[in-house]
Symmetry: C2
């Protein structure tokens, strides 16, 4: 049977991801809550469905790329997407949602629709989505992953990390490292500035050594320029860090830096930085240490 894909959720990420599937030659039917966002991918050749059920009923592969766990659950089981899913179809949820949501969705789709399930959240942002270079962390059965592989490879680099839910867990591991490393860079640049060094020169000097990272390169530069336009919003990162701590609690782990980092992002949101880029964690560390500051330039903040 030829592959036919339903893609639910055509936002900042879903649009370039679904576009890459269309360009690869797959027949793709898209659905989005605000239909207009799907215009570019429809122009590329995707079909538009008026409802989630209309999208899924013609497909044997269903991809969801939605905002959070409750929304995925709502679209699947309240707005009718599940009703259209045939026995033997494969649901690939590429949204970032808590692992226990993923496990429950897998169970219900198997019980109610006899469908397979793979959790496959991504890292790499809109640039990675456009370039089809996303890191894709997949959880599920090996045979199910193999069935999905050629599709996922059109959007990035998929890796099977374990059973259902562990793709989401790997995404949480990713977000923990990202959040902690952002605070590490913020603390180091503030220490450099307070001690009389030029933070921009320090960042440049240590790039390439053992302190080097994507975060030092990208978010470190944003901190130097005090340019806190997202990128990734801090309130979304706080949501992910809350899920990290929930997952740690479920497995009875005490993870001191993950916990402290969650508190710092909560502090940032509390002082009004929820809409700012994650690199604005620097503002939280500075706020705790007034009047210490990295550079004299004014903050560049989002307008809405």
């Amino acid at each position: 049977m030829a592959t036919t894909i339903a893609f639910l959720g055509i936002g900042l990420m879903g649009e370039p991801m679904s576009a890459n599937l269309v360009k690869a030659g797959f027949p793709v039917t898209v659905w989005n809550r605000s239909a207009a966002k799907a215009d570019p991918v429809v122009k590329l050749g995707a079909k538009r469905a008026a409802t989630p059920e209309a999208a899924t009923s013609g497909a044997n592969i269903i991809i969801t790329m939605l905002e959070n766990g409750p929304i995925v659950r709502d679209v699947l089981f309240e707005q009718g997407a599940a009703k259209g899913i045939r026995a033997g179809a494969l649901v690939i949820d590429m949204s970032s949602i808590p692992p226990d949501y993923a496990r429950e969705h897998a169970k219900r789709l198997k019980a109610e629709r006899k469908a397979d399930y793979l959790d496959a959240p991504v890292s790499g942002g809109t640039v990675g989505a456009a370039e089809a270079s996303l890191a894709i962390m997949a959880g599920g059965e090996s045979a199910v992953f193999e069935r999905a592989r050629s599709i996922l490879e059109k959007m990035g680099r998929p890796t099977l990390v374990g059973p259902t839910g562990t793709g989401q867990l790997a995404k949480l591991c990713n977000q923990a490292i990202v959040g902690i490393n952002i605070i590490a860079v913020a603390e180091a640049l503030l220490l450099a500035a307070a001690g009389g060094a030029d933070p921009a020169a320090v960042r440049k000097a240590i790039t390439g050594g053992f302190a080097d990272s994507k975060i030092l390169q990208v978010h470190g530069q944003r901190m130097i320029e005090r340019k806190f336009l997202p990128g990734g919003r801090s309130q979304v990162h706080l949501k992910d860090l809350n899920s990290v701590i929930d997952a740690a609690n479920e497995t009875k782990l005490d993870l001191p830096l993950s916990k402290a980092t969650r508190e710092i992002f909560k502090y940032l949101v509390d002082i009004g930085g929820g809409r700012y880029d994650q690199s604005a964690a620097l503002l939280a560390i500075e706020h705790m240490n007034k009047p210490a500051r990295v550079g004299a330039a004014p903050d560049i903040l989002p307008k809405d």
Copy 2:
């Protein structure tokens, strides 16, 4: 006047660094406490001095690469190195020592010997030293830095970050980021394992995304293999993290992750891991969370 170099401290780092200066054609006189360690660089063409004073008295550039602040102070001012230093000579201290030590050495060398001073600690390890790709963080006057530049460039990539002492401060910033990021990777891999994912697959899946770093690549792999042979010893990293907190206290900064990371490295040293590689910070996080563990393989530990 032609450049003549004295190089004091021919250890794991000093040997390849001084060798690169010899290969670049500079006349280099070396001194080391245990003379035999200088044999390879003497074979390459360096002269051997019997005492620190004998080394420095023939040189207009004096490079020190010693273990810590007290040892640098002892070699300079107690063992006679300073006595040999001429007016107008330049002392480049590439050791990693506290910023306040560096500032005092600069002051004394200027007052007692009319000599210039640059602090220029490095990051990149023995591989970076051998490949002349060290990140070199320099503190001092701009003209002094320019005088040193062509020599430093034979050992790596020098960047002037500010006045005297700020090279050492930049090194501390580097060590703070490295230490925090090691704990970040340890926490993430333990969370992955405890939640039923394959930690090796998770590490592979997130490499290349925003969580990527030198630490994830190098120390993350050591954690997966449970291979804790140094590399960099944890007790040395604890010493650096103590200096980070001292520098933060001097500038009245509260840096929560740096502080927590110092406590975790102290915990590791307390449970006997001081001689282990920094990646053994995983053992501290596991020890706090018994019986959670990353993988079933036995630990590979140093013998002495």
